[in-house]
């Protein structure tokens, strides 16, 4: 058993994005069985955690500071899995339009970046919580 689990609950406030991002970086820097560039991985985990949590705060919880966001990070030998939970109305990940580079709009790049940087991304609607699940292979 070499699994690592980190389970974090923070207030639904963007000021905690950097805490979650930093914890992601800390984990990336200690993944001693990761073959790739660990500093690049640190940025990527920081980013996908920041994007997913910002979506929960804004789109699901409408910036309600009294709510909380739960983030779970699970690492086993082969993969790293991040789950970001929200208690919002949910959305359909599969029907999001891809960003159009020739029409530079200000929004809509968060999930594109997540999908680019992670190997599998899935959004499961549920009661009482929805969850965005992101997996990255480590070998």
């Amino acid at each position: 058993m070499n699994d690592i689990e980190v389970d974090i609950v923070v207030p639904n406030q963007t000021r905690y994005l950097s805490l979650i991002g930093r914890i992601g970086e800390a984990i990336a820097r200690e993944l001693d069985h990761y073959r790739g560039d660990r500093e690049a991985l640190a940025y990527q985990l920081n980013l996908v955690l920041t994007e997913a949590m910002a979506n929960a705060i804004k789109h699901a919880h409408h910036e309600n500071a009294g709510k909380t966001v739960r983030v779970r990070i699970h690492i086993d030998r082969d993969a790293l899995q991040i789950e970001v939970y929200d208690q919002g109305q949910g959305f359909d990940l599969e029907s999001l339009p891809p960003p159009q580079p020739d029409v530079p709009v200000e929004h809509g790049r968060g999930l594109f970046l997540i999908r680019t940087l992670m190997d599998e991304v899935e959004y499961r609607r549920g009661k009482p919580e929805n969850v965005l699940i992101m997996r990255k292979r480590l070998q």
Binding site: T14, R15, L17, S18, G21, A40, Y43, N46, L47, T50, E51, A54, I57, K58, P99, P101, P104, V105, E106, H107, R109, G110, F112, L113, T116
Partner: protein, 111 residues
């Protein structure tokens, strides 16, 4: 948010003094740039050399400034991107939208 501004050779150089540009502070940057453009600025150089991390809303705030500048017949260019920040522009192809200079001096020379 810590931002330093300085006028150099008729450009307004705006140095973002934050290690992170994310959904927590990007609106502030966007509003700050919008307010500057209400003055008579013709060229803004945004110095990102202190920024180690940018997310999609940081990119969005800069894009908003860029479009806003064009509306005001001004321009907004970027300078001093750290390699991982530069990589975010490339991943989103926003490097094709912005004029990006190695540092502030080159941005001023490239005028």
């Amino acid at each position: 948010m810590q931002i330093q501004t300085e006028t150099r050779d008729g450009n307004l150089v705006l140095s973002v003094q934050e290690p992170r540009l994310d959904a927590h502070n990007s609106d502030e940057l966007k509003d700050y740039i919008a307010k500057l453009l209400e003055g008579n600025e013709s060229r803004l150089v945004v110095d990102l050399s202190a920024v180690r991390f940018i997310d999609s809303s940081g990119l969005g705030a800069l894009l908003s400034g860029y479009k806003n500048a064009n509306l005001h017949r001004a321009s907004l260019v970027l300078a001093g991107l750290q390699p991982r920040v530069q990589a975010m522009f490339e991943l989103t192809r926003l490097n094709r939208v912005f004029e990006i200079y190695r540092d502030v001096d080159e941005a001023l020379a490239g005028h």
